[in-house]
């Protein structure tokens, strides 16, 4: 039971801990070729 609670708490803490990685934008996508749908 304690392990389940711990997992839940870790899941909740995730966004705060990983924020520096989450806010770093990924490589920008290449612009779509003209005449194609994105």
């Amino acid at each position: 039971m304690a392990i389940i609670v711990a997992t839940l708490l870790l899941f909740l803490a995730g966004p705060f801990v990983l924020w520096p990685l989450l806010r770093t934008p990924d490589e920008p996508l290449p612009p779509a070729a003209p005449g194609t749908f994105p």
């Binding site: 304690a2 389940i4 711990a6 803490a13």
Partner: protein
């Protein structure tokens, strides 16, 4: 039961986050990856939040009398007053470890938040070290000694707090002294981090100064509160018994005192770098050593927690800290240059600090050997124990030399002393000489009084003359250089403490008397009359209270019996305090013929110890409010010294 799972889950989550923070921070510091340094730091903050959550859950379980938890059942009961139920949080092994961890997490977080200017690498390594320490404690809490262990059957009531702990002192002494120990992990972490990052300048000292001062102030207050508590509760007429647990609290305080003085030499003169690192490491190792001694039960003491499984873990942690620190200093500090390479001149402020440091380390050695002697001699065959005479004989001369330095040191200038210094010494010399003559005229023949009190008077004269000089010439300097004058005030407080200790030690009077109601006894100029006794029912215990009259006052020493705890009995001391002396009355026994046996002490100047302690803390606080660096202009001018990474 739900609370127990939430608490245990928070500890486990904290352990995972702490371990993750430690590994990532060391890696990020090594690779200098900014984003991972930030993630590592946030993981430490999150581990702290988990620790706060676990602590809140334990406190809630205590206050709601959740007897499904072993810890709540063993340390509280329904009749315990609510404040003491709340204090049960740190009243047992597991809870006090959680408290330690909580303080470490909170102060560690504060130190990391405020450390932006130290650079990414120092920050990363400091996070790694703090997270490693935090993880160790969370591991012990989650795996070895959990405060959230459940009982298979929930009892209707608990066993209650140990009667000795059912006192107002319980609300303040343990949390203060434990916080003082935990706080010293901060300077340790930043000192090691600076070494790892190759930064040999005084930046880490400036950053951690507040934490070192906080740790020192808490340790000072904790020691004095412990003395006050022992004096009021234990009923043996004294306040310091050289008990192993008192000793292991004194040793980190001595090392921290040494560090707070020698760190000034590095801040001002850029010298003693390795020495300061060594002192910080020594102080932290002594904290861990003390925690091991208190919690393992290897040395017999009135303070120790029950023998438990955590002793070997703490021994392993102590060993790991020792190996890590020594290896770090040996490998990294060799590459730094010590100031201008010349030896520290003896007749100078820095020389006085070095000498003071050596004397304090001497006292640590004396106390350490006295403390571990039963352990070491036991291993060699015949267990030997030393008492107060050993400590007084061995440490007494060192304390006397420290008092002499307290009188002379503050008058010595940096670099070297000249003729003006010799002139300035006339004040402490006059103060000491006058006190010595007065004592001799009064017929005092005790060596400890004839040496200790004049030296204390000399130290007081130094501080007073410095204050007087400032007031006569430029009073505004008292505020502008408040760190210096705050330190003088703390020195004054220490002198008052020393006077209290010396007087109560040398001139204590003690008498055992058995009196019928109406009978009188005279001790040290006080005449006391036994007026009779009565029994009082006070909820969780009954008290047999004797009334002792002297003058228009009535003292009520008592013996308390806790029926719910198998009839455990406890003495309640009655004390009448004046600035000159304490009248201290203990009800030793009540007899069948209606008489009562009392032990009566007259303890001179004990109140000075508590008052002096308050002055020390006030001096430290006033001296450091809004103070960042002793000489900001110097700190700015001096460029940081970097070592090859």
């Amino acid at each position: 039961m739900i609370l127990a799972y939430l608490g245990a889950g928070a500890l486990l989550a904290g352990l995972v986050l702490g371990g993750f923070s430690a590994m990532l921070s060391f890696f990020a510091g090594w690779r200098q990856t900014t984003v991972f340094i930030q993630v590592g730091r946030r993981a430490f903050y999150a581990a702290t939040v988990m620790t706060v959550l676990a602590a809140a859950v334990l406190e809630l379980a205590l206050l709601t009398h959740d007897f499904s938890l072993v810890y709540v059942t063993e340390h509280t009961d329904l009749s315990t007053p609510l404040a003491l139920v709340a204090a049960g949080f740190y009243g047992g092994q597991e809870g006090s470890l959680l408290y330690w961890t909580l303080i470490l997490g909170v102060l560690g977080t504060a130190s990391l938040v405020a450390a932006g200017s130290l650079g990414d690498r120092v920050l990363a390594y400091a996070t790694g070290i703090l997270a490693t320490i935090l993880s160790f404690f969370l591991f012990v809490l989650a795996v070895v000694a959990s405060p959230f262990e459940l009982l298979s059957l929930t009892p209707p009531d608990g066993l209650g707090l140990n009667p000795v702990l059912r006192d107002g002192g319980m609300l303040i002494h343990p949390p203060v002294v434990l916080a003082g120990f935990a706080a010293f992990a901060i300077p340790f972490a930043f000192a090691c981090a600076a070494l790892l990052a190759g930064r040999a300048d005084a930046a880490w000292i400036r950053h951690t100064r507040r934490f070192a001062l906080l740790a020192w102030s808490l340790q000072t207050a904790g020691l004095l509160l412990g003395m006050w508590w022992a004096y009021h509760v234990l009923g043996w007429g004294g306040y310091w018994g050289w008990d192993p647990v008192e000793n292991v609290a004194l040793m980190p305080w001595l090392a921290t005192t040494a560090y707070l003085h020698s760190s000034q030499v590095q801040e001002r003169r850029g010298r003693l770098r390795t020495w300061n690192l060594g002192l910080v490491i020594l102080a932290f190792l002594l904290v861990v050593f003390g925690t091991f001694i208190v919690r393992s039960g290897v040395v017999p003491s009135v303070h120790t927690f029950a023998i438990s499984a955590i002793g070997p873990w703490f021994l392993a942690f102590l060993f790991a800290c020792l190996v890590f620190s020594v290896a770090l200093v040996a490998i990294r500090s060799g590459t730094s240059s010590e100031g201008d390479g010349r030896a520290v001149p003896v007749a100078s402020r820095e020389g006085a600090f070095v000498l003071q440091n050596l004397l304090l380390i001497g006292v640590i050695a004396v106390v350490m050997w006295g403390t571990v002697l039963p352990l070491v001699s036991g291993m060699l065959g015949a267990e030997r124990v030393v008492g107060a005479p050993y400590y007084e004989r061995a440490a007494g001369p060192l304390f006397a030399a420290l008092l002499a330095l307290l009188a002379i040191g503050p008058l010595l200038p940096w670099r070297h002393a000249g003729r003006a210094t010799v002139r300035a010494l006339r004040w402490p010399a006059a103060g000491a000489a006058i006190t010595l003559v007065v004592l001799l005229v009064l017929g005092v023949r005790s060596w400890s009084a004839l040496i200790g009190l004049p030296l204390a008077a000399g130290a007081a004269s130094t501080a007073i003359s410095e204050f007087g000089r400032a007031l006569l010439r430029r009073p505004q300097v008292l505020v502008r250089r408040r760190r210096r004058y705050g330190a003088y005030l703390a020195h004054m407080g220490l002198v008052v403490v020393v006077a209290g200790i010396a007087a109560s030690h040398v001139w204590q009077q003690e008498k055992d008397v058995t009196l019928q109601p109406g009978g009188s006894a005279a001790v040290g100029g006080y005449t006391l009359t036994y007026a009779g006794a009565e029994q009082r029912d006070l909820g969780d215990h009954t008290e047999y209270v004797a009334a002792m009259r002297f003058g228009d006052q009535t003292l009520e020493p008592a013996r308390a019996t806790y029926a719910g705890l198998g009839g455990q009995a406890l003495t309640h001391v009655a004390i009448s305090t004046t600035p000159a002396a304490d009248l201290y009355v203990v009800l030793a026994a009540t007899n069948e013929d209606g008489s009562a046996t009392f032990r009566i002490f007259v303890n001179p100047l004990v109140a000075w110890i508590w008052a002096g302690g308050a002055v020390i803390i006030v001096g430290v606080v006033l001296g450091n409010v809004g103070e960042t660096s002793p000489m900001p202009e110097l700190a700015r001018r001096r460029s940081p010294v970097t070592l090859p990474a």
